[in-house]
Symmetry: C2
Subunit: 270 residues, 2 copies
């Protein structure tokens, strides 16, 4: 299971300020620390980028690439910003992402085919609602895969995000047990092996004691790893969670076990 | 997932001494601390009990019951000691356990039927060797279930132990991934729901750094819980591992989620 850092977010005031003033230092510093902490890829979460979308995305991509050659996830709903990022990027790129939402099928998905890059597909209804159970997610997965294939996508380029539900939702924990089943069963369902990713921070969204949130995150990371999750989008500064991912990888690896396990930073796929 | 304390062992010199001199205090102290630490049942591991087997088992059962009403696992290969324990016990009892080993099929298994109590069946070959993979464990499970049924056992009384392999074994981690599949699939395989138990300390047997052993234990406990393991036989003084079990139970429970989760101390079955 590869760790994708979710730390580079425009909602972080220091990053917002750096983007506003085109100051590369705060971004470089953050990304360097993410790489040192065990990130195998970096999500560049720019939000919708209402102003100067293209120059800002280009600035971010170039700044991140000035300190790392890790793969980049371009995390925006803005197709113009996305195209600018795809044009600017020299590192491997993953588009994050599309769903059955018509605007995304029309404007985001085609970019993955055009640029022949990986893309994340979210198991959400066309109105962006989260399916309430395993069956709903499975049905959406089939529709998403059909739409992806119809657009000319190569299944080896598709990464499914089953969408972790906050445990505080009324049926959140039942949904999250279903998410494990979806990850285990999606290859068989679609008749082809697709990779999977999940945004871990969703699990503990909302109020709650920090120590128990972190504990639940570690526990669920282990369960996701055993289910076969390929990438965990997470806060790479959660040091104990990172240690859990490395332990999971040592336990689930095909290699001879050693207590001197190393972190995994490969990314599977074409 | 219920925690079964593996702490009461004759190999503990203080316990060996207490049994030798029939001094109840060290046993009472240990068991009280196990219950306080979160044990939902207590394994009484007497070993083969070469001398005074019956009086020693009786002493242990009565001493443990003097401080707790938790279920007891009678963990011995000595049928006479086992019968003495079954006669002495007032708490709920689980026999730990039998396997395809002829002596155990002949001398241990019938006691479960005679006393109508739960019994643990180990997925081991008749010569007590550990099957080297998932297929081997599944085949043994079928044979064990057949032998159990032929002896008049009620499936609701059977608790399967798939036998965790030490990660340091040549194919240990692959076996332990297989153990997760066995736990997930055994109900379907046998055509009836049976409960499962696993001895967690096996995982990290052998040399290795303590902090990574404990981390691996916590990670694998989470995976076992997600696979549906009913009981974890473990050191209940591993405080962080106990916290992981409680977090797993909160996450996998059918009840409304709350951050103020409580420990589970129920034991399923008839």
């Amino acid at each position: 299971m590869l760790i994708v850092a979710d730390n580079l977010q425009i909602t972080n005031p220091a990053i917002a300020q750096a983007v506003e003033t085109m100051d590369p230092e705060p971004v470089r510093d953050l990304v360097s620390r993410c790489a040192a902490a065990g990130a195998g890829a970096v999500d560049i979460n720019t939000g919708p980028l209402a102003r100067d979308a293209e120059s800002r995305m280009t600035f971010l991509v170039e700044t991140v690439e000035s300190v790392t050659d890790l793969p980049l996830l371009l995390d925006t709903v803005n197709p113009a910003a996305l195209r600018a990022g795809l044009d600017a990027a020299k590192n491997r790129v993953i588009i994050n992402g599309f769903s059955l939402e018509p605007k995304k099928l029309e404007q985001i998905l085609p970019l993955a085919v055009e640029y022949d890059v990986d893309i994340i597909g979210y198991l959400l209804y066309p109105d962006s609602q989260v399916p309430s159970g395993e069956a709903g997610r499975m049905q959406v997965a089939v529709e998403l895969f059909t739409a992806f294939s119809a657009a000319g996508g190569d299944p080896a380029r598709l990464i499914i995000d089953p969408v972790i539900a906050p445990v505080m939702w009324q049926n959140g924990t039942a949904q999250d047990t279903g998410v494990l089943s979806v990850i285990r069963g999606i290859g068989e369902l679609l008749g082809t092996q697709v990779r999977t990713i999940a945004g871990i921070s969703n699990l503990t969204t909302g109020p709650g004691p920090m120590d128990r949130k972190r504990l639940l995150e570690r526990v669920y990371l282990s369960m996701l790893a055993a289910a076969g999750l390929d990438m965990a989008l997470m806060n790479v500064f959660h040091r104990e969670s990172v240690a859990v991912v490395h332990a999971c990888n040592a336990l689930l690896s095909d290699r001879i076990f050693t207590w001197e396990w190393r972190e995994e930073t490969r990314i599977a796929g074409p």
